[in-house]
Homo-oligomer: 407 residues x 2
């Protein structure tokens, strides 16, 4: 029986979350016999509850559909909305009535940990009420912290951006190589250091920057940090250090919280500065060399100039695999990527029970963090390198990239 | 008579300062009859004084030479060094003895205002002592603040980076479009707002972000700023504001100085934060919506992913035109770009007296700044648009761009 589909995006955007949306749409459009109209939830499940729903079938064969492939952000808008734990909450019957109203047979949700929580709860409720709606999660996150999958669409492009940008900043930092300097680059990641670890790929030769890499997985000690920076300055004039925004001390306190507790603004309120800014001041005070901190900020997740072809293709394929799986009767699953070993790159698309995945966090293995928590191992490089391969050409007009805009 | 050449880079780097170096080298290598060896000053005139000199002729026909074209930073290293005003200072005779020692007949210096001061002083000294060394300045700066030239190599690529990145950040900022937010993007430029003005090119449609653009050329008033942001939030959920780092109040005080006077770090020292961070706190306190500030930082001048083909070609041509001019007997000049009108793009390479250029600053014309100093006019767009056209392919290896490194 022909049923409609609905797709949503949730959580922080990535450069390829729309590539997964493209994958869902493009695949759905191929199955006119079973999938009727494709609806989009504007601002995820939260918007859906407020009847913010659009018809995406009109995009079939449009140039807009093709543009969506390389548009950063979330074409459908996003949300950070947690469904209630209690499945007897009336919100669930409300949602499923709406599904019925729109004759929904397929539900696709593109997101990370929190979004998989939504997929899990909806599929548990569907089971409870004997609904035959097929509910599938499609993974995305620049943080690469979803379990049960080798890696996550969105990570490769963010990592490629980080590696390239750290290489460029290192070159920039070395132009006054007759003067000592320290550059601290703060990279996204509160709990998992996958993205910061990718900065190791910026190195071109032994001893190249970044000389020190700090992840949230290892305890950060400011004394030891200052000592390592001093040592590095003895043999390298311009030292680049990469840190995760989420580095923590031995008591689990975020390093950025140290500056919060003292800095105040004109209005007497706490000034929020990042870990990088805090360490910048620390280096200035204790070492006295020229020092600068740089936050790579949201560009890590929205730059279209450093899309990894591998990541982009995997994001599209994850979306289409989700559709095929739902069509085959699967539900309550997340699309996952399987790889047989570090030395081969033979990605298979599989399904994993979403209930086992949501609200879990995959961190960088401790044996991949080396040199007293200041560097990353060769195993990581072998893991990472295939993920950033290849480039994607983004359409340009008037000298700037052209993106799709929801109308 | 065959003479050697020496070339140096000075001031802040740009993405195409090495393209100009490539232009100088490539052109010099074509004139073996008149130009012998080409030397490079490591870290500009400061390094030259310390005998940091390398032979660049070995790069002829090398793959390294080709890589230099698209390498950001300053291949030769840079300096910020001001020669003494007094031409009778012994440093000048020391320099010219060194020129004689290396049989230098041609001196090329790639840089901005301060570097043109060096070119000016050296050419005045050369005249004074009847030296026949030909001294030529080759313009570069992302700030576009050199006078007597339509624009400056380095500006177009930085502007393309700014326009593209502001467009991407605006898309990222709008994913939670059911929640009001303000994003403040801080762009380089202490005195001239050319680069910040380029953020206007990020707009795709009328009413698109950035909704407000503030340059250092117009007085910045915080009350009026807050009012404008409030008004913008009435019709647009996610407001993006672009500001120059150098915005100033009616008394000429930098806005960023306001935060300096209050913020202190753990050690009781002043915390240096930028104008964007200061305004972020202001919006949080007075408007109370979600607010984020983003510094585009050094990526503006070192990103290789958004090179403008126009800018890149002009940077190379400026270098080669400098060599041809010197060979033709010109000295004490800076290469400049001439354009007949805003409506045609017919760049001619000309020479201008460097003494008239150095230490001057070209700011954005006041009649191009509109809407009470919150936007930029159509004339600016017509001026700017040709400068960011075309892309440059940067060689990639292992998923990241490959750059030249001085050995």
């Amino acid at each position: 029986m022909k049923k409609n589909a609905v797709v949503g995006q949730s959580g922080g955007p990535t450069s390829v979350i729309n590539a997964s949306l493209y994958g869902v749409l493009n695949e759905s459009f191929k199955h006119e016999d079973t999938i009727g109209c494709v609806y989009g939830m504007i601002n995820g499940i939260e918007g859906f509850l407020n009847n913010q729903i659009m018809n995406l079938s009109k995009l079939r064969n449009s140039s807009e559909l093709s543009l969506i492939q390389t548009t950063p952000g979330a074409y459908l808008g996003s949300c950070r909305y947690k469904l209630p734990e209690d499945l007897s909450n009336p919100i669930y019957s409300e949602l499923f009535s709406k599904f019925e109203e729109y004759n929904i047979g397929y539900f696709f949700y593109i997101g990370g940990n929190d979004s998989m929580d939504t997929v899990s709860k909806l599929s548990l409720y569907a089971k409870k009420v004997n609904s035959d709606i097929r509910i599938i999660g499609i993974p995305k996150t620049i943080d690469n912290d979803l379990i049960e999958t080798d890696h996550t669409p969105g990570y490769g492009s963010a990592a490629k951006y980080v590696a390239s940008t750290v290489r460029e900043i290192s070159i920039d930092a070395s132009v006054y190589d007759n003067k000592k300097s320290v550059t601290i680059i703060e990279i996204m990641g509160r709990h998992a250091g996958w993205l910061t670890a990718a900065s190791a790929l910026a190195r071109k030769f032994d001893g190249d920057n970044p000389l020190l890499i700090y992840l949230p997985e290892a305890v950060f000690d400011t004394e030891s940090f200052l000592q390592k920076v001093k040592e590095a300055l003895e043999h390298t004039a311009n030292v680049v250090v990469c840190i995760s925004e989420g580095i923590r001390d031995k008591d689990g306190k975020f390093i950025c919280e140290y500056s919060h507790s003292v800095g105040i603004d004109t209005f007497g309120h706490k000034m929020l500065t990042g870990s990088g800014k805090y360490l910048e001041n620390l280096v200035k005070d204790h070492i006295g060399v020229k020092v600068r901190s740089i936050e790579l900020n949201v560009c890590q997740r929205c730059s279209s100039s450093m899309l990894s072809k591998t990541d982009h293709e995997e994001a599209i394929h994850s979306g289409s695999f989700g559709v095929i799986s739902a069509k085959n009767g699967e539900t309550g699953k997340m699309v996952a990527l399987k790889r047989s070993s570090l030395d081969t790159y033979d990605i298979q698309y599989i399904l994993k029970d979403v209930n086992q995945i949501c609200n879990q966090e995959k961190v960088v293995p401790s044996d991949w963090i080396i040199n007293d928590g200041t560097d990353i191992s060769e195993e990581f490089i072998r893991y990472m390198l295939p993920l950033i391969q290849g480039s994607v050409s983004v359409p340009m007009e008037n000298g700037v990239p052209v993106f799709a805009y929801r109308k």
